[in-house]
């Protein structure tokens, strides 16, 4: 059982305050909650890069070890949507309820496939990649994400009727996770997240007063 978002905020708060519920530190939990999102996303991207490096090394020793997509499957969340048709662009689309985690080559968006059937759609980076391929790729269904300030949209090219539900596997940007939701993080990421948060907020913490006047500035128990 992993952490919820709220639990991770509490953990970070106690670590910053030295394990004491100290009102004197000038760090609020709400600020930690906000920065936590950035820290989690950073830790995930960092983890992605480590795995990418591991893949390169693994390929040297055993080519079959290597995986092209180093996104940890623990990061992926499954969603099911019914595609709509955008008449203006002549394309089917899905409006996502969550933001996609930003990874190189759109790898935050892992896969899209019909709910039924033994096929998978092909991901591309953007629509312009398809130019000039009509004569041999007219039957393939391609999809790509488009981002806006409000929401993320996935567009589909060559989707034929009848249109069924589509499963989306993607790494979610943790900005859209509630405090009570479990964080779907790869193992070991939580420790790195706490490190990042504590490191960030420690420099913001006010130097505690030497209220016992014993030359020791560390936070002391009031007991």
């Amino acid at each position: 059982m992993g952490y919820t978002k709220g639990e991770l905020v509490d953990q970070a708060y106690y670590r910053i305050s030295g394990g004491i519920d100290n009102n004197e530190i000038s760090v609020n939990k709400i600020d930690i909650g906000k920065y936590l999102i950035a820290a989690i996303n950073y830790a995930l991207v960092e983890d992605y890069r480590f795995k990418l490096r591991d893949n390169v090394l693994a390929k040297r020793s055993s080519p079959l070890e290597a995986q092209s997509n180093p996104v940890d499957h623990n990061m992926l969340t499954r969603f099911t949507f019914s595609p709509q048709f955008d008449e203006l662009r002549g394309l089917h689309y899905i409006e996502l309820t969550d933001k996609i985690l930003s990874l190189p080559k759109n790898r935050g968006l892992h896969a899209a496939m019909p709910l039924k059937g033994n096929t998978a759609y092909t991901k591309i980076v953007s629509q312009q990649e398809l130019l000039g391929t009509e004569r041999y790729l007219s039957d393939q269904v391609f999809y790509w994400p488009e981002h806006s300030t409000s929401s993320d949209v996935i567009l589909f090219k060559n989707m034929q009727e009848p249109i069924g539900d589509v499963m989306i596997f993607m790494a979610v940007d943790f900005d859209s996770i509630s405090d009570t939701s479990n964080l779907n993080l790869p193992s070991g990421i939580e420790v790195r997240v706490l490190e990042l948060v504590v490191q960030f907020f420690t420099s913001q913490r006010t130097i505690p007063g030497d209220d016992q006047n014993d030359g020791n500035d560390q936070i002391k128990s009031r007991l």
């Binding site: 092209s68 997509n69 896969a111 092909t122 041999y136 790729l137």
Partner: protein
């Protein structure tokens, strides 16, 4: 043989190539697809060509317009009554009627030159009668037309008849028939086409009833250089009335003693039914003289086709190794030259194997044996 192999879809081959290179999620699907499509076009041209035969109608300017998927022409011929194909010879010297020779710098074109039609009759018997009937309103533009040649025994008769009309001042032939007893062999006639129309040609062999023969037209829209032909390439003054030297070849007038005529004997004698040239730029076939070459006739063209949409869908399974190494060569040639060369080497091996499956013995293998034996031979 190639007919026995199974096929894979384009999608399967792309995903397999990606997976072979460690890209099991096919993240590089589109790039691989683009390279694979080009490789398929390559092996389509050299290893597993798609060959089609279709019948086309000869256009008014003695050309055949080909469909857009033609890559190269293999054979051109006329279909005979028993279904055989009477093939035509290839003649790279042919030039389309409206196309000027590359070296020609004269300013005239077929539109301001004289538009000429020429007719030819073969296998005529000595003593036969040839009648040519012109339509009303036919006007002769030049006293040299019509001009007949080969054999010339018909010529005096024709020209004298024509001259009569000129002398009458009419310059107009009113439903007139020119006829004469001809010598054997072939007869060619040259007319100013823009103002003269032949309505009927009758050929009456010796001791046989008259029969109507279809006008046998060759070299319509023959290019005749008009005035102001100044050719700076040959650097010599050209008489205004002389034809451009570069225009004096087949399908274009050649200067004669008493008029202009087409370069009549240039086509190979072994292909008397006609010659052709495939004009790859304009995707058409230009036809030269021959008894099968008539406007409206149907000719059969056998050609290699390019990759149309449906031909990308099925890929011979046995070609996978060949395609894999070719794709990987192009994928790595700019980033990892050693890897690219390794794939190129493997591709060549696979190429030989693939060709060997089709031909029993690959041409490359035969050449390799010859080269090896040559190297082992005693030198000096």
């Amino acid at each position: 043989m190639i007919q026995d192999v199974a096929f894979d879809s384009f999608d399967t081959v792309v995903r397999d190539i990606c997976a072979f290179d460690g890209d099991s999620q096919a993240d590089n699907y589109l790039r691989t697809s683009r390279i694979l499509a080009r490789c398929l076009e390559e092996i389509n041209e050299y290893a597993i060509p798609n060959i089609e035969s279709k019948v086309f109608e000869i256009e008014d300017n003695l050309t055949v317009i080909l469909p857009i998927d033609v890559q190269s022409v293999i054979k051109v011929g006329a279909l005979t009554a028993n279904g055989a194909v009477r093939i035509m010879g290839e003649n790279q010297g042919l030039i389309a009627p409206s196309q000027k020779p590359l070296k020609c710098t004269c300013s005239s074109s077929s539109s301001n030159g004289i538009n000429i039609a020429s007719y030819r009759f073969d296998n005529l018997l000595t003593g036969s009668i040839l009648e040519i009937r012109f339509t009303n309103g036919t006007v002769m533009e030049l006293p040299n037309y019509p001009y007949a040649f080969s054999p010339s025994n018909i010529n005096p008769l024709l020209t004298s008849d024509i001259k009569l009309y000129y002398e009458n001042g009419g310059h107009e032939l009113l439903d007139v028939t020119i006829s004469g007893v001809i010598g054997g062999g072939s007869v060619g006639l040259l007319f100013s086409k823009s103002s003269l129309a032949v309505s009927e040609i009758k050929y009456t062999p010796v001791s046989a009833a008259p029969q109507t023969v279809a006008p046998f037209i060759f070299g319509e829209d023959i290019f005749y250089p008009g005035e102001n032909c100044e050719d700076d390439i040959i650097s010599q003054p050209i008489n205004n009335n002389a034809p451009c030297y570069y225009c004096t070849f087949h399908n274009i007038c050649i200067a004669g003693n008493s008029g202009y005529r087409p370069a009549y004997g240039l086509h190979p004698k072994s292909y008397r039914n006609g010659t052709y040239k495939y004009d790859i730029k304009r995707n058409l076939i230009i036809l030269g003289n021959g008894y099968d070459v008539k406007v409206g006739n149907e000719i059969l063209v056998e050609y290699r086709t390019g990759m149309t949409n449906e031909k990308y869908l099925l890929i011979p399974r046995l070609a996978f190794q060949l395609l894999y190494h070719r794709v990987m060569y192009f994928a790595s040639v700019n980033s990892n030259t050693n890897l690219a060369m390794s794939h190129l080497s493997q591709y060549r091996v696979e190429w030989k194997r693939f060709k060997a499956r089709q031909l029993d013995v690959a041409l490359e293998d035969i050449l390799a044996v010859i080269r090896r034996n040559y190297r082992r031979g005693v030198k000096g």
